[in-house]
């Protein structure tokens, strides 16, 4: 009887530990998550760049909402980095696979309120097949911090 109770308690402790461990798993930022469940035919020969002219951030905090994805039609990984006009890098996303994107980023530094013109979102592309570097893009954007 005591043995049975001990076994049941032991199993319960293990289950609770597993649940707590899963719940405390740190949320990854600046890494990609699956963007779409729809399968897409790959574009041969072209890299699709989703563009915009403005980015809006909140002042005095590093964690920001920012959506960007690598189209599922692409045949490349992307390294994506945002820099101010003076070259100061604000964040970098490494090896974003085709069909994956981010909803949040963690800045390297907090930004005070203001308008930051002529920032650059650089998108370096690497072949999914052999990781050789392909043509890339620099997207000119203005960053508004409120």
């Amino acid at each position: 009887m005591k043995t049975r109770i001990g076994i049941v308690l032991g199993i319960a402790v293990i289950m609770v530990a597993l649940v707590l461990a899963h719940g405390n798993k740190p949320q990854h930022i600046n890494t990609g998550v699956k963007w779409s469940e729809e399968a897409a035919q790959k574009d041969t020969g072209y890299i699709a760049i989703n563009g915009f002219s403005e980015i809006h951030f909140q002042a005095d905090t590093k964690a920001q909402d920012f959506e960007f994805h690598n189209s599922e039609k692409n045949n490349c990984y992307m390294d994506v980095a945002l820099a101010l006009a003076d070259g100061t890098e604000l964040f970098k996303i490494h090896s974003l696979a085709a069909g994956y994107g981010v909803h949040k980023v963690l800045l390297n530094q907090e930004l005070p309120k203001g308008e930051y013109e002529d920032c650059s979102l650089s998108i370096q592309c690497y072949s999914s097949a052999d990781h050789t570097q392909m043509n890339g893009t620099a997207l000119s954007v203005d960053v508004y911090v409120r």
Binding site: D43, G45, N50, G51, N135, G136, T137, A138
Partner: protein, 150 residues
């Protein structure tokens, strides 16, 4: 006395009028901004002396704006390097097919897209300035396209 009181009360109710409080209204302004968005398709690779195009789709920008695509040049050229001996380089220049003009550091724009011409393409090609004395082998390099909406 009671009868008289009831009669007076009934007559008062007959002539009673509903009094409404004066209506007041106020307005608040609702603000929303839909940011510019667009998709640009750049070539994965560019082969020298073969035409290539930049395309656009899903352009949703303010009517007074356009999406411009530039080639980021080091001066007027992009260098490509011998795969087996990177110390050997060749200079590549770019030319617009529409009017035959060169894409230079001073004039780096291939062309532009607006909401009215989403189906157009920006056609250009790459050529090598001077191949004399070039070391045999494959040459590779990368082009960076600068995209701006203004």
């Amino acid at each position: 006395m009671k009868r008289l009181t009831c009669i007076i009360a009934a007559m008062m109710m007959l002539f009673a009028q509903t009094v409404y409080a004066e209506e007041q209204t106020a307005q608040s302004t609702i603000l929303y901004t839909q940011n510019d968005s667009f998709s640009i398709y750049i070539p994965e690779t560019i082969t020298v002396n073969q035409p290539v195009a930049v395309q656009a789709a899903e352009i949703n920008i303010r009517p007074d704006r356009a999406v411009y695509v530039d080639i980021v040049n080091d001066g007027d050229y992009v260098n490509i390097y011998n795969a087996e001996d990177p110390s050997h380089a060749l200079q590549v220049y770019f030319q617009r097919i529409a009017d035959g003009t060169r894409i230079t550091g001073a004039n780096p724009t291939i062309g532009s897209f607006s909401t009215q011409d989403q189906s157009s393409t920006l056609d250009f090609f790459a050529a090598i300035e001077d191949t004399s004395g070039a070391k045999a082998g494959d040459y590779t390099g990368m082009v960076t396209f600068k995209i701006r909406c203004e």
